[in-house]
Amino acid sequence: METRKKSKRLSKSWSDNSQINKLDDGCLMHIFSFLLPIPDRYNTALVCHRWMFLACHPRLWLRVDRMVKDLSQPGVFPTVEAAVSAARPGDTILIGAGGSHIASNIQIKKPLCLIGGGDVPEETTLICSRGSESALEFLSTCKLANLTVKAELGCCLLHRSGKLIIDCCFLQCESDPLDYLSYAIISTSSCPKVAPSLLKCCGDGVSVSQTRIEGGAKAVLTSGSLALQRVRVIYAQTSIFFWFDVEHREQ
């Protein structure tokens, strides 16, 4: 574990020695692109202001663009599934706004962050067609932000393990005569049977904030040992926003 240090205003002679900061932004970002996101690029983000800005810069993110013609272009993929396969643990994927992206039973087994490229969640849509169990299936800690996920008959998000963070998204189960079969979020995660004092160590769960959920039988179905906690709802003019956690029931 790193120790935190307060900022030290060091003497000028130190900054004279920092030759690496004389490299331009392009060169530094090129260096960062050679580093694994976890833990190396994350550590570089804690070095200094400039590195924090460059290491988290969107230029280092993978992009999903349905209209991409040149498939040899590095870092740009035509489908979400292709980007997820190519991503390294800890990568961020920016999904292009406009139109719909197909997302059918995409298994995510490594920590990834998926971000919608629009100004609002409604501009970036992932659609899970009939016949698929879910749009995205999570077996690792992941984060979703600024996305719309629509499911027809299946569920939007299937959470198996890890911590899933959903921020400013829109989960919609298509209204349908059979929509009682679909749920926005299904969690099958189960904490192993341990002594109550160790229960806090079970980090699995789903954390939802400022997210619209519409349609379906219920927002969350848990078939494991996790339960809905701390639900808050805000009724805005045209929609309802939810905040809740799905985690191990507090004793």
Binding site: S7, P37, D40, T44, H49, P111, C142, K163
Partner: protein, 171 residues
């Protein structure tokens, strides 16, 4: 008096002899910062995309001015390009690269900036890999110590950065 460096056949003494005696095309690259001139084979020089485009567009008739690159960096770059055009054995090239990049940090950064400017992908990637290896596996404190970077982040900013990225940590 201008310094003229011949990279190629060391036995030849003058530029006229080079132009007439071989059917290879030769180019003169001049670093505008310190006015050093280098005569190189075109096949070596076009490892740089910038020079390749100039040649293809027909702008490379006389001396090619190369700004922003110093004479000694240019010499090293030409040495690298020459080796990579002559040698095709991966293993030999790897050993050459390892030896070639055994430089101090300042020389490495100069080389990186020059390779980036001249768009020589092979050299840029080799140098970048070497610098990235200095950062891999180290904590932010260790990186600051090795690369001599001042820490201008406050404790609050570090904490905020951790929180932003906390989704990557299984906690």
């Amino acid at each position: 008096m201008k310094k003229l460096k011949f990279i190629g056949n060391p036995l030849l003494q003058s530029r006229e002899k080079i132009n007439m005696s071989s059917d290879k095309k030769w180019l003169t690259l001049k670093t505008t910062e310190d006015n050093e001139e280098f005569v190189v084979e075109e096949s070596v020089a076009i490892m740089s995309n910038v020079i390749k485009n100039m040649v293809e567009d027909g702008c490379a008739s006389s001396v090619i001015p190369v700004p922003r690159v110093k004479g000694n960096a240019m010499g090293k770059i030409i040495e690298f390009c020459k080796k990579h055009t002559e040698e095709s054995d991966e293993k030999v090239l790897k050993e050459f690269d390892a030896e070639f990049l055994n430089l101090g940090p300042d020389a490495l950064y100069d080389l990186m900036v020059s390779a980036n400017f001249l768009e020589i992908k092979v050299l840029l990637d080799s140098v970048t890999t070497k610098v990235a290896d200095m950062i891999k596996g180290k904590s932010s404190e260790e990186i600051r110590n090795i690369l001599k970077i001042e820490n201008d982040l406050s404790a609050e900013e570090i904490e905020e950065s951790r929180r932003e990225n906390c989704w990557t940590r299984q906690e």
